[in-house]
Structure formats: structure tokens, C-alpha cells
Symmetry: none
Subunit: 316 residues, 2 copies
């Protein structure tokens, strides 16, 4: 059973800690990295040895955070999980630390309470909001790099102030971070406003294959392997196009089909309203969530389309 | 020569005015409509007769603003241009009011000073920030519909807090508007996460005309009148595609050219880094902001392209 602690106690525990290892969740996003990064810089300003560990590779675009990645040259004396809701999110490489997480700082309501002590603030839009408060209480100067890290956490976890978790406090903290030098224009460009030439090229092709079904309530688009290879788009880049069909006004089921190297089709289903994407995909051997699910087809394009549309018809 | 006035004087003039007509700029966006809408509701709360006039059709998605559109049944006693930088932005249908604009409330640095009196606050991210202050000074209650209108103006003019015009004050006002009931999740869905079938169709066509210049640092795309009409896309919908070329990785100048009914081309320039979009467009008889500017060309497509690219070359 974890001990739930408040900000003051968290500050006290961090103050007593030495040789601190900050752990981020796997598939790291802007909040786990930005929160850990700001905390790293703050603890360093207090003269402490601190480093960050993440099971997965950190994208180059986050270079501005100046993260001090753990190099194994010293033994951690205190382990802090930052924005990590459960032990399954540590990832393989970080699993060695699972038996001794001293502190967890998080905002996920689903936090499993796996750490010795947990500072959980569920109404924070991002863990970065909690770190922001901690740094304010530390009595150290909020530097530009800390502000950049925290702005990143807040901006990514709220979809740039669009998601339902955004609160008035979120905006007020963003205002303060801007005043501390957060380079919000460049950060948002890096985080949200950037597409590769290849991504735009495949978008154009996918849109050229856009078709509507069921009285325009379902939109479907596809890209063949040959088209994917012609544009040179990377898989991580390709993922993003799956949100396009569902964005169309009136569309409640958006389907994107992309051909894999094997020749089969990976089908991504995105829904809104009362339509359950998972039901559609589960009937075809796949799975996922209510709003986003997927499955795979080994037939040709026309057969795959017909099968998916038949399942959509049952749900729509 | 216009008289530059402050917020207090603006409030005084509005207080003395009766039968007020609020004029929005042509191709109306969220800021001109949201600012006029909030002001309309505020003046109505003071018991005044007030209506809104715009040369162009207002998109259905703005229905939540509950705009009182001018029906011609009464004679305006006082004319206020809201977020209209110059007389060329009135549009044909509003040109009758040009000779007697009593007041202009605006935030564009390029404001031409065409009104009798001008309340210009250039460091406001949106005209909605000015209206927010005015309503606060009026001593009336900020209602939910006013908050929705003002949030719309701020959110659209800052690209949801991403653009360089965003200030700490912008975020603090957003926080206040959320507390007054602005339905920010739904608004942002409507404003940013939803596209018409026509919009997607014109995006596909524009992308098919995408070309790169100056070592891929400039991307240009265009749509002809015939293409616009074939898709049936509305002007308000067309506006959004202007952000696409600048989004491309490595691109610092993004240009979108769309043919008007007259046959001439409307050119939208979006920049990042140190490139001044306004300089490019000013050299071609247009204007705007550092990151976003526009101009118009009466030549054919190839001539227009060549002229714009020549100016880009000087700045890039």
C-alpha cells in the first residue's frame, strides 16, 4: 500500500534524497519527459546528482530539454517515477527498478499506487502542473529550460489547451511559463505543426482514394504498399493519417486501410457518437478502444473493404 | 485623420451611441465574428439596439454565437468596424458604410485609420482581447455566450495559443473565459478538429498542386476558381488550407494562392523563423502580420507566382 503524500511532504522527501534517478514511462511523451526534465534541472540547481531513465528511445525533437540520461556510472540512492501510472508502463529496460520506487509523482486517476509514496493530483491536466508547483516551493529560480520542459508537458497532454482536462489553472501556469521564457512558438511548431513532405504526399494520395458510405456517415480511404513506398513515408508518420476520415463533418465512422509489406491490409477504425470501433474490429479478429480500434486483412483490397463495411453497417 | 482613442473613451462613445451597426470584415473569421458577437450581446444587455453586418456569408458552425444579423429594417445611428484593418476588407455589400465609420476597434498593426475614431491595441493577440476588457469595464455580467464568442476570437486568431501573437495575458483571459462558462472543448472541436467534405476535397486538389522552391524552404500551392467551384467549398472553409504549406518540415515560407471570382489571385503567406511575411506582401501591395500576411494579384497564375516568389527570394 502506497502512502499518499502532499506537495510539502514531496518537497521534503526530495530534499533529503541524494543520487536521484527519475524514471519516465515507456513510449515517452512530452509530459513524462518535460516533467522529469524540469525536475532534473531543479534538483541539479539544488546541487544534487540526478539523471533520467526511460526504457525507450527519446525522440530527437526533445533535444531542447537537455535531459541528463542515466549512464549507469553511479548507484541511484532514490528512485522517482514521473508521470508513470502503473508498473506495466516502466518497460522492459526499467523493470529492474520496480522493486524499489521510492516516490511517484503523477496525475493519472488510474495510478496503481505501486510506489512507497505517491504524490497524485488527479485534477492536474499534466504532471508538469505538479512539478511547476514543486519548483515554485523550492525557492529556486525557474530557468528557461525548466519553463520549456514544463510548457511541453502541459501543451502535449492537453492537445495545446484543447482537451477536456484543461483547466483555468492550466492557462495561468502557461502564462507564467511564457513569462519565464518558454519558447512556446517554437515548441508548438515542433510538437504540433510539423509534417514531413512524405506525410503530405501520402495524405494527398489517401484523400484521392476517399469514399463515402452509408449516407456519408462513414468515410473510408486507403493507401497501397506501392503508394506508401513511392512517397517514402515512415510508419510513425503514416499513423497520423488515420484521424483524417473521422474529422469530416457528419462522419461517425472513419476507416483508413494501409497495405503492409506482406500484402495484407491494416485497418484503422475511428468513431464518434455511439459507435463502438472495438465491436467493429473485434468481429474481424482485431480489437482496441471504443473510439479507436484496428484489425488486419489478408484478402485483396476489395474483399477487405467489403468485410469492414459489412461490420460497419451492423453498428451504424 | 482618425482620432486614436483609449478604452475609456471607447466605452464612453459606445455608451452615447444608439442603433449601433457592427461591421465585420469580409471572409469573416472567428475573431471578427466573435468580437462583434460579444460586443453585440454586451450592448444588448445595456438595452441598446444593435446588429451585425458582414459582406460575406457566415459559416453555420458559428451558430452558437447567436449573432443578430442586420435586416435593414432600421437606420443605423452609429457604425462600428470590428477587427477590420482597412476599407478594402469591408467587401462590396458593406461599401455603403465606408463614408461614415464612427469607430473602429482593432488589433492589426496595419490598421489604416479610416474611421472617425480608432481604438487600436496592437499587442492584443485578437480584437476579442480588447472587447474582453471593454465588457469588463461596462459593469455587466459576462454571460456564457459572450465568453464563447470571445474564446472563439482568441483561439482562432492565435491558432489555439500557438502563434507568436499569443501573450501571457491571452492565456489569463482564456482562463477567465473558461470560468465564465466558455465551452472550450466543443468550440475547439468545431473550430479546429472538424472539416467539411468540400474542405477535404479542396485540400486534396491544393496538395496535388504543391511545389517546392528555394531548396525546399518555400512551399507553394494554389487552387483555381474552377477547382474551388467544382468542390463547392465555402470561402470560410478555404481559409484554413493556408496553414498547410508552412507546416512542412524545413519550410519557412508557405504560400497559398486561391483564385477569386474576379479571376485575380488571393495570396496568403505564412512564415516561420526570421522571415517577415508582412514585408513580402507589403512589397506587393498587401499587408498583415510578421507570420501571416496576404496580398492580391490581378495577373494570371504564372505571373502571380513569379512575382510572389521574387519577393520571397529577397527575404529567404
Amino acid at each position: 500500500m502506497t502512502e499518499r503524500i502532499d506537495l510539502a511532504k514531496t518537497l521534503q522527501m526530495l530534499g533529503q534524497a541524494e543520487d536521484i534517478l527519475l524514471i519516465c514511462h515507456k513510449n515517452p511523451d512530452g509530459d513524462t519527459l518535460g516533467s522529469a526534465g524540469a525536475l532534473q534541472h531543479a534538483l541539479q540547481a539544488q546541487g544534487k546528482r540526478v539523471a533520467i531513465f526511460c526504457s525507450d528511445k527519446i525522440a530527437e525533437k526533445y533535444g531542447y530539454m537537455q535531459l541528463a540520461l542515466y549512464d549507469g556510472s553511479w548507484e541511484p540512492g532514490y528512485v522517482v517515477a514521473v508521470d508513470v501510472a502503473g508498473i506495466q508502463l516502466f518497460g522492459e529496460a526499467a523493470s529492474g527498478y520496480l522493486k524499489r520506487v521510492d516516490l511517484c509523482i503523477d496525475h493519472h486517476p488510474s495510478n496503481a499506487g505501486y510506489a512507497e509514496a505517491t504524490m497524485l493530483e488527479e485534477d492536474s491536466a499534466a504532471t508538469a502542473e505538479i512539478i511547476y508547483q514543486l519548483i515554485g516551493m523550492m525557492g529556486i529560480e525557474m530557468t528557461k529550460v525548466m519553463a520549456d520542459c514544463l510548457y511541453t508537458g502541459i501543451s502535449t497532454d492537453t492537445g495545446c489547451f484543447k482537451f477536456t482536462n484543461t483547466t483555468p489553472r492550466t492557462h495561468r501556469i502557461a502564462a507564467e511559463l511564457m513569462e519565464q521564457g518558454a519558447d512556446f512558438v517554437r515548441l508548438n511548431e515542433v510538437l504540433f505543426e510539423s509534417k514531413s513532405q512524405q506525410r503530405l504526399a501520402i495524405e494527398r494520395i489517401a484523400l484521392s482514394h476517399l469514399e463515402y458510405h452509408f449516407d456519408n456517415r462513414c468515410a473510408l480511404m486507403y493507401v497501397t504498399r506501392e503508394e506508401i513506398e513511392r512517397t517514402g513515408v515512415e510508419n510513425s508518420d503514416l499513423e497520423g493519417i488515420t484521424s483524417i476520415p473521422r474529422m469530416i463533418e457528419g462522419v461517425v465512422v472513419g476507416i483508413t486501410m494501409r497495405q503492409l509489406e506482406s500484402g495484407s491490409y491494416k485497418v484503422s477504425v475511428r468513431t464518434s457518437g455511439n459507435i463502438d470501433a472495438c465491436k467493429i474490429c473485434a468481429a474481424l479478429g482485431g480489437g482496441g478502444h471504443i473510439r479507436a480500434a484496428g484489425c488486419e486483412f489478408f484478402g485483396n483490397l476489395e474483399n477487405a473493404k467489403a468485410a469492414v463495411l459489412a461490420e460497419v453497417k451492423k453498428q451504424i
